[in-house]
Symmetry: D2
Subunit: 309 residues, 4 copies
């Protein structure tokens, strides 16, 4: 089933679990899938920035994707296909779609500056992967350095019917969600799904501004799913209470570089993966950092029993 503009809920960004010797830990992939589904995931995204995709051999990337597609059954699997050239992007996109992926995610290359360069890039990318492949725009200026205005996003959506979703992780970004939803209310933008990332640092308010859900890799996907659900049910205070309890750890995890190490460490402690190993090159946690995370988990456990480890 292909991804479409009605996608919502919780799409975890999956890490790639490794054994300490660097081999892919397939058993942990299976555990991850179980846990994500138990947490209420409505889909999943693999081979994203936090999935250590550039460290994988092509056949490994395909194998992991297939395993997630099998495990998620009818739920959509989105595959990151960003690449420095369109040949590699097309090749990966065609292969994963054949295997049953629901769509692909494309981040703009860092050199893009002007509005025309950005919209031109997405036209060329769609020409490369084919207009039959649903795709997600990744809008992440903090890491990618490319700045897309709401007008530019609208133009990409309007020019490319296969664009069905925005992965929103601009920062600050609340007004961007409001502006895009206003475009739609005015009729100048067709419906698209907006899932938010940026480590969930603003998920509480993003839902209130009109986001459809979360697409990020915070090590407690249950919290993401709960906040999305509570906000949709109108339980605003409850949503914020839960979010605020997690915010000290959310904030800690959302550090460039060391963030993935933090995430894998917590996922390991929670039994989602067997080891927090990263393939080289990867930032390791110091003893001081591990002690800080343990302290944050202990404090969190007072409010959320799922943090009791």
């Amino acid at each position: 089933m292909l991804l479409d503009a009605t996608a919502s809920g919780l799409f975890p960004i999956a890490p790639t679990p490794f054994h300490p010797d660097g081999r892919i830990d397939e058993a942990s992939v299976n555990t991850l899938i179980e846990r994500y589904l138990a947490a209420g995931a409505t889909g999943v995204t693999v081979l994203g920035i936090m999935g250590e995709a550039p460290k994988l051999e092509p056949e490994e990337s395909l194998a992991i994707t297939s395993r997630f597609i099998d495990g998620f059954g009818k739920l959509p699997v989105i595959v990151g296909v960003s690449a420095p050239g369109f040949a590699a992007m097309r090749s990966l996109a065609r292969q994963v779609m054949e295997k049953g992926a629901a769509g692909v995610m494309i981040a703009p290359p860092p050199a893009l500056r002007t509005d025309d360069q950005i919209t031109g890039y997405y036209r060329q990318a769609v020409e490369a992967i084919g207009t039959d492949v649903p795709f997600v725009i990744q809008d992440y200026p903090l890491t990618l350095t490319v700045q897309m205005t709401p007008k530019v996003i609208r133009q990409i959506v309007e020019e490319n019917p296969s664009c069905v979703m925005l992965k929103h992780e601009d920062w600050p970004g609340l007004e961007k969600i409001s502006t895009l939803r206003k475009f739609q209310a005015e009729g100048s933008l067709r419906p698209i799904s907006i899932l938010t990332g940026n480590g969930a640092l603003f998920l509480d308010f993003e839902m209130e501004r009109g986001a459809d859900g979360a697409m990020t890799g915070y090590a407690f996907p249950e919290m993401l799913g709960d906040v999305v659900r509570l906000q949709k049910e109108g339980k605003r205070d409850e949503a914020h209470d839960l979010f605020d309890a997690h915010l000290p750890l959310v904030r800690y995890e959302q550090q460039q570089g060391v963030g993935l190490a933090t995430r894998k460490y917590v996922l390991m402690k929670r039994g989602f993966i067997a080891s927090d190993a990263q393939r080289k090159p990867g930032a390791a946690l110091t003893d001081a950092a591990r002690a800080e995370i343990d302290y944050l988990l202990a404090r969190l456990a007072r409010h959320d029993p799922r943090a009791r480890i």
Copy 2:
């Protein structure tokens, strides 16, 4: 009295209060000074990035600085003197030191890349302002795009005896504090003061890693002062409890661009300044944003009565 390496505690980054018509609001400057002192400020920093310094005429900059120097009495006033050229930097530095400033703060210009370029820049800056003017290194890659390793900071400190403080706002930055303190423990770096900024997003742990205090403009300077004090007294849990209660607002305020509008809005609601006006160009808050901040304040007031407005 000149700034030296023993500086610690709470140095608020002062905003510049304006009347809605754009004139400087001198009465609010006085109120700010009173409130900062009541909050336990041990110094203050003016004409920083958040002080709208580039929007001030030279005589206005000097007048505000003088007013803070008068109001803070024997407590040190640090003045931001970053400028695209050394002529303007020297001129401002000499003038504010004559008026009684304790030292100046210098941020590197965005074009600097290599270690040699950065250390060379600080040598030239010191030559320009004079070796008798104590100065603070501002290390803020998120905004300035210049990345300084601990070794580069050490070299700047060792080459320039007038360097007495690091305004640390790297992100992630906890390991940087630990590394610099380790350099000192090993004897390869002389003592310097480390105050942390970056909107206080990591103040809780920065104190535990060895920071001497906070230098940032969060709209509740009392919280900053309390966390610094509690950590120094060894009351770790109390420090984190207070910090965590504020973190949702700290996080909201620490957004590029809209952050200053948030800060001034809260300071206005708290009676620190009469108006939240910014000089042009300035990002305004939408109604939605104001409502979000009000909601955050109401939630915060449950834990910290100072947020009851």
Copy 3:
């Protein structure tokens, strides 16, 4: 007399001559003016990037500007007023216009990325300096990192009636000139003057694409004036012959950083200025570099007797 869209010919970018001890060399300013006028200058630009403007005290900037205004009589003097804040920009713009400047030149700050940010910046700048001050857009991505498409330039021109000129120094940039002239032929862009910079590296073809003249600081302004004139007279081969003879030196001078040192060295050897001193910080020529320039001058002298020194 104010600058308007009919400006053309040769506008040298004037360096600021210093004595070896760092004082401004006013006698050399006078010599520069004489030589520029003798070379056929139809105007001049002061306080540009190559004029070491950030190293000047405000009163020095005004004094130099006044001297050029006096010396150039009825010919237009353009003053660079780019600044990190609008207060300084407005202040300098108002002062130089009062002294008789013909217009000002404004470069975008390096942080601008999206089309909206760039056009918004120029709207704010015009609000700051006043709509009665004619201004020049400086489009120099190689140094400023800001990329403006022809559409963005058109929007700035259309939104701001006081915009009368483009200083074109994009690289590659020939198609940009053609596109802007096509906009005008189609009626979607009102007339503006286009003078080209970038060290004259493409002046030969820029004239053929529709430029009105040269605005750059190459140490042989006579060559710039001659190429502009020959191209306007339809003497294409002659224009290229002269240009090609100078190209090895043009190329050498158009190096970031060391370029100004090269330019001042040649101007000194040619008697335009008494010393090639730069104020600190400035890149010095090595002995090897000086020998290379001398060799290039000797080779040039075989084709252009003005290089015989």
Copy 4:
């Protein structure tokens, strides 16, 4: 035979010839090889930035590499293996070395800033590809935005015995060659080969500063070879005479983006390749640009009969 520090002479950067329909033009690869050898090439570099490498499928990259290895016989073939991840870099490096490549070239990714980041990256890259694979540092800040000081290059060379060559294309860069050669004269840097790129814009003087040869793709490789040879024979004026005759075209070709289109157009006119087609996305020449290049060729033919077409 493996690449070593004695490499010198002319290493053309080979473009990838395509048929107008996008297929690789293998006959033109053979012609290119013949012409390069006839021009005196002492080696060749494939899959570089100008080889449209990111547009090739992996098997295509290997096929082209093999064809060059066969064609060049005992002369060394260097393969560009820069990639966003070490998995792809290792994989390509191992495969081409098995096929008989002499070494690989590695450019740093654009995000690198500090000296430690750059030297750390090369250590990790060598760990990935293996210490038995000779490699070339590509130092090209204009395109890659990474700035390496001579000290950083020295550290990379000293830390990694498999580093045998610097592809020097910093700009300005003459002093960098002199500094590296001075390091070697002082004994603080072991011998490495320095070949220069940057479109040959400074090849004339780079040879005088100590370069061992040229590694760039200018459409007249014969000129590159001749200038290298003449300079080595001490025929300085002859070298400059030839270089200067070509400089107008060298300058035209060394434009970002449109440069490759220019190069392929000239190579096609010269019979090196059958078509100037690029795979998408690629910048096309306008009629005006083609006419300019034709004019430059006609002018060049007066001095160098090889430009008569």
